[in-house]
């Protein structure tokens, strides 16, 4: 499937991701053969859904439902911390990169739809006395105090829709 995607397009996007990752202190999986398959998957999803959904998760095709799994997903940092790799293994930790930790297929921490709804319901609205609300980038954890989230995260370049009201 999608065998006709030009190598050049995959390689260019791979180089961009690698550069961006390293600039932000992240590392791509050093197994380039494996990693380029994931990069191709991201491009396929870009063409198919118009957003770069995780290649190793099922997408709904509805962007609002898939915001949490747009690469880099909301779960990358927690998975890197716990397992040394993100779910699809595009990103790995320094320990995996140095061969100190083995890279294995990990469980998906994305909550099942039901659990997500439950969590939303149980969330208590915090009434804040702060002068400005605090917004958190769900991709990289960047925090800022202003009336609304920035258009683009100044740290990881994630878009506005990846921010949540934190305080």
């Amino acid at each position: 499937m999608y065998e006709d995607m030009p190598e050049d397009r995959i390689n260019k996007f791979y180089e961009k991701l690698k550069k961006d990752a390293e600039a932000g202190g992240y590392q791509l999986n050093p197994d380039t053969n494996f990693t380029k398959k994931l990069v191709k998957g991201l491009l396929v999803n870009q063409d198919r859904y118009s957003y770069q959904a995780c290649p190793c998760r099922i997408s709904s095709g509805v962007k609002d439902e898939d915001l949490d799994i747009i690469c880099p997903c909301d779960y990358r940092d927690s998975d890197l911390e716990e397992y040394g790799t993100c779910y699809c293994a595009l990103y790995v930790s320094q320990d995996v990169l140095n061969g100190k930790k083995e890279l294995v297929s990990i469980p998906d921490r994305r909550l099942t739809e039901k659990e997500k709804i439950k969590q939303k319901e149980s969330k208590i609205e915090i009434t804040s006395s702060l002068k400005y609300p605090i917004w958190r980038c769900k991709v990289c954890g960047y925090l800022c105090a202003r009336d609304g989230p920035p258009e683009i995260c100044p740290i990881c370049k994630a878009k506005k829709d990846r921010f949540e009201k934190f305080l």
Partner: protein
């Protein structure tokens, strides 16, 4: 509704079904391992299905793996292996 799987010929070890995504590198590794073991199996790329068929497939995967994650390997409608777990797969099919 019945899903249409693609068959890969090999040694018969029973009904072996692989639910996979066409974009997923771990799914490909799982498929390659099964081929390497020379076992007959059938697979389906759930992300390539449309509409009702896609939903039907997702519901079917959920019966075996409530998180509906991929790859999901189902052996004889009984044992389910989620993710690329080479040792577990080899043991189950030896």
């Amino acid at each position: 509704m019945e899903l249409i799987f693609e068959l890969v010929k090999g040694k018969n070890k029973g009904d072996i079904k692989l639910y996979a995504l066409s974009t997923c590198a771990w799914c490909e590794k799982t498929k390659d391992l099964l081929k390497e073991l020379g076992i007959e199996f059938k697979f389906i790329y759930v992300d390539l299905l449309q509409g009702d068929t896609k939903q039907y497939a997702i519901d079917e995967v959920r019966k075996y793996n409530k998180n509906c994650s991929f790859p999901t390997l189902v052996i004889n409608n009984d044992k389910t292996i989620v993710g690329f777990k080479a040792t577990e797969i080899k043991e189950a099919l030896s």
